[in-house]
Every structure is written in structure tokens, then in C-alpha cells.
Symmetry: C2
Subunit: 269 residues, 2 copies
């Protein structure tokens, strides 16, 4: 197979890939970027291969890198090589990687979600921090959730920062984007318990009657959930707040709740 | 009281405060920076006042701002005013604030920790992400922890990012810095159960025999805890990992564990 070598910073491929650090270009190209051998290996082992694999010339050999290269070529993807300093322009100077991949964006339609496929789903409303989104994906993988549903205007789950924070879970968790006006009717069109941490008419989160499929919703980092979103929940729960603050970091709250749901669903089996 | 007005970007006070965004200067000056009315109000309500309060001219009046100003002056601190664009040079252009405060760094000696003062303490080993440290402080406040002990080379808990992520908990939680070689003898010099999430000879984290004061330890974001640190624990616990990943975000793991410890200690009373 012909292997393309890139020798200049102004190469159009380099420019196009570098542009994927910005949301506008990700949406235009319908592609996203994942960096580093570990993340790309997670992707491969999850059955996701990049359309385009970028590798630094003079990199250290690694069996996982070989496996990745072969898999991409076998799937008809392209592998390009370039000097490390050009690849660093794409992957960032602070933490340059010897390998990066460009993936076609996944289907993010709510209709593609099979709610019966998992006992837990995470839901984020207007979450603005891509690191929090990535952390929620990672937590979702850990608790056996099916995926993450992003309601209203959230940060981009396909941003480099979210992909990195997900530690590979972006490749295993389903991701759907929806407005609240779409999400709620979709949810009510089938089985599903919507829960959220709340101070309004809530019961203790420990031992609350969680039911699968349980949709665990958390709100925006500074404003929390709108009151009508909370009131639309089947169950509102409170977590102890022993100190001055009245809330947790949103990704932390999702995790504490999701682990409680997991424990209760397991003990009820 | 004479109120100092700053009119130029090159004013030495502006430069000295701006320098507090860097660790080197925080350590030299033994001071740190907190930005925004909410954070400064949290500080005031926790009995912590800035030595120096910086306010933008032409800011909107606010009763909490008035209270802050009066409290700083009553405590003998200095209040300076400056054009908003100069203050933005200090607080950052992305998210300029109308008010910022410079605090004397707190005592971070392990010897200053009174372990009997709280049933839970959080411990972080070599944690590199200041956002994670701030999130742990915030979680500590929520679970009624006494504070956060930073073992070995951690990010700076007094960085602007950590202070912000703590949502004010940096002013209520005790913070101590120690090497492992200091921490372990200190811990063993009194009551205290050291626990960590681990895959080595561990028992399920739900319902494990937690005892106060319980020290909940989490490790470095990418490497986790060294094996000998894990083996020095009184209790090693595992959390379910239902997916591909074998670990959680460090601040998330600390929170899920700490909430379980809280629930068990409460039910044992």
C-alpha cells in the first residue's frame, strides 16, 4: 500500500486535522480527533477505527501501534507519516503524541438509542465543561451505563478535551444530542425512570426506589437544573451536604448517584 | 480611610497580583489569589479575609460587595480600585471579574491537622490536575471532611484554577502538604484508618468496615497509587467497573468512596 509522507507544515491534511481542534470545523467536516496510542487502542478494541491515522516518523516501535496501523489499512483507512514536529502542531506542543487519528463523527440521534440495552443512562443538561462531559462518559463506562444524552446546549463531546477525559469511553458509550422538548417525549414514549439530585420535594438518595432503565440527570455547572426539568423527574433525591456548599461538581454528583443506582439495581435482582 | 486608586497597567501592585497566577510567585509571596464576588463572599463567611481587595471602578453596586469591603477595611486590609480593564489583566480576559482578593497562604503543616475534628479526611497522592484538587476540596466540604492532605508532588491547591474549582471549600477545608515518609508516621501516631480503591487484596467498597477518622486516599491521575502505598492501607476496596476501563477519574473515585464512608459511619452511630 502506498504510504503518504507529509513534509510541510502547510500541507492541507495537516491544516484540516489541526482545524478539528475547533468545534466549527468538527461540525463542518463531521469528524473528530483523538490523540495518543492508548486512546486509539481503546478505540480499536471497541471496534472503532480512524479514517485517517497520523504517525510521527522516527517514533518508537510498539506492538499496539503496529496493530493499529494494520487495522486501519485493512479497513481501507489512510495512514500518513510526518516529522514529529509537524504532528506536534496537530496534537499540541504541551503534550505531543506520536500518533493521532481522525474519526467520522458517530450518529448522535436520540432515535438511535436502545434504552433497553442498559440499566443506566446518564443525562447532562447544558453542561459547559468538556472535561466534565468526558468524565461523565468515563463514569458511564464504569457503571455499565449505555451512554450519555446531552440535553440543550452542552459542550461538544467530540472536543479533544472531552475525548481525552473520557479515557476511551467516547468509543464505547452511546452519545445523543437533543433539546429538552425532544428528549422528554422520547423518554415518555417508553420505559424509563428520570431522576435528578434536587432540593425540591426530594428523598434521600440512599436506598431510593431506582428502576431500570434509570436516567440519571445532572444540570449546568453553575445554574443546576431548571425547576421544570426537576419537576418532570420521576424521582428527586438529595445527597447529604454537610458543609457550606449546597452542591457538588456536576460530574461528581452524576457519579455518586450512578453508583448508588447501580448498587440498588444489583441488590434488587 | 484613604482609598488607593490605580490608573496604570504597569502599577507594581497590579504586577505583583498578576504574578500570583504563577506558582513560583505564590510561593515567594506566600499569597494566593481568589476571584469573583461569590468566592470572596464564601471566604468572608468562613472567616477568611483578603489582605488586599481589588475592585473595578464603575462596578455594579451589590450588598455583598459592600459587606466585603467593610469587612476588609475593618480587619485592617487594603482596598484598591482600578479601571475594569486593568483588573481584567489580573483576573483573566475570558472571565473578567469585578473583584479579586489576595490572601495570605494558610498554614499547610501536617502538625496543624486535628484528626479528631472530623470523621473523614481526603488524601491525594501526586495529583497533577488543579481542577481535580479543587473538586476534591469541594467534595470534602460536602461529606463533612476535615480537609485534604496532599502527599508527594501534587498540583498547587492555591492555584487560581484549584481555588475556583473548590467553590469556596479552599477556605473551609484544612489543607496539608507532606511527603509520604512524613505522612505515614504521622498517621500511625494516632487513630486513623487509611483506605484506598485498589485491585490488590481488596473487598467490595459497599459496606466495608470503615472507621472514623477515615482517611480516603486516591492516587495520581495516570499512574494511580504505588503498590507500597496501597499495601500500607488498613483497607483496600474495589468499586464495580462494568465496562472497558479499570479506573475512574481520581476526584470522582474520591467522591464515590467518601459518600460510601459517610453513609456507613452514619449508619453505625
Amino acid at each position: 500500500m502506498t504510504r503518504r509522507h507529509i513534509t510541510g507544515f502547510s500541507n492541507p491534511t495537516v491544516k484540516a486535522v489541526r482545524a478539528l481542534r475547533e468545534k466549527k470545523h468538527r461540525k463542518q467536516q463531521r469528524r473528530f480527533l483523538a490523540e495518543g496510542l492508548r486512546l486509539l487502542t481503546d478505540a480499536r478494541e471497541s471496534g472503532r477505527l480512524p479514517e485517517l491515522l497520523l504517525m510521527a516518523e522516527g517514533r518508537d516501535a510498539h506492538p499496539l501501534l503496529d496493530a493499529l496501523e494494520r487495522a486501519v489499512e485493512a479497513a481501507g483507512g489512510e495512514v500518513v507519516e510526518m516529522p514529529a514536529e509537524i504532528l506536534a502542531k496537530v496534537t499540541g506542543k504541551d503534550n505531543p503524541q506520536a500518533v493521532a487519528g481522525v474519526f467520522a463523527e458517530f450518529d448522535t440521534d436520540l432515535a438511535a438509542i436502545d434504552r433497553a440495552a442498559a440499566p443506566i443512562w446518564l443525562v447532562a443538561h447544558a453542561m459547559r465543561d468538556p472535561g466534565n462531559l468526558g468524565t461523565m462518559l468515563r463514569t458511564g463506562d464504569a457503571v455499565g451505563a449505555g451512554g450519555l444524552i446531552l440535553v440543550d446546549d452542552c459542550a461538544d463531546p467530540f472536543s479533544v478535551e472531552a475525548v481525552r477525559a473520557s479515557m476511551g469511553a467516547v468509543f464505547t458509550q452511546r452519545i445523543a444530542l437533543a433539546r429538552w422538548e425532544e428528549f422528554l417525549p422520547w423518554l415518555r414514549g417508553g420505559e424509563g425512570q428520570l431522576i435528578a439530585a434536587s432540593l425540591r420535594e426530594a428523598q434521600p438518595y440512599r436506598g431510593a426506589p431506582y428502576k431500570a432503565p434509570c436516567f440519571v440527570m445532572v444540570g449546568n455547572e453553575s445554574r443546576g437544573l431548571p425547576e421544570d426539568y426537576e419537576m418532570a423527574c420521576d424521582l428527586r433525591v438529595t445527597m447529604p451536604m454537610m458543609g457550606r456548599a449546597d452542591s457538588l461538581n456536576a460530574a461528581v454528583a452524576a457519579a455518586v448517584l450512578a453508583y448508588e443506582v447501580l448498587a440498588r439495581l444489583d441488590s434488587g435482582r
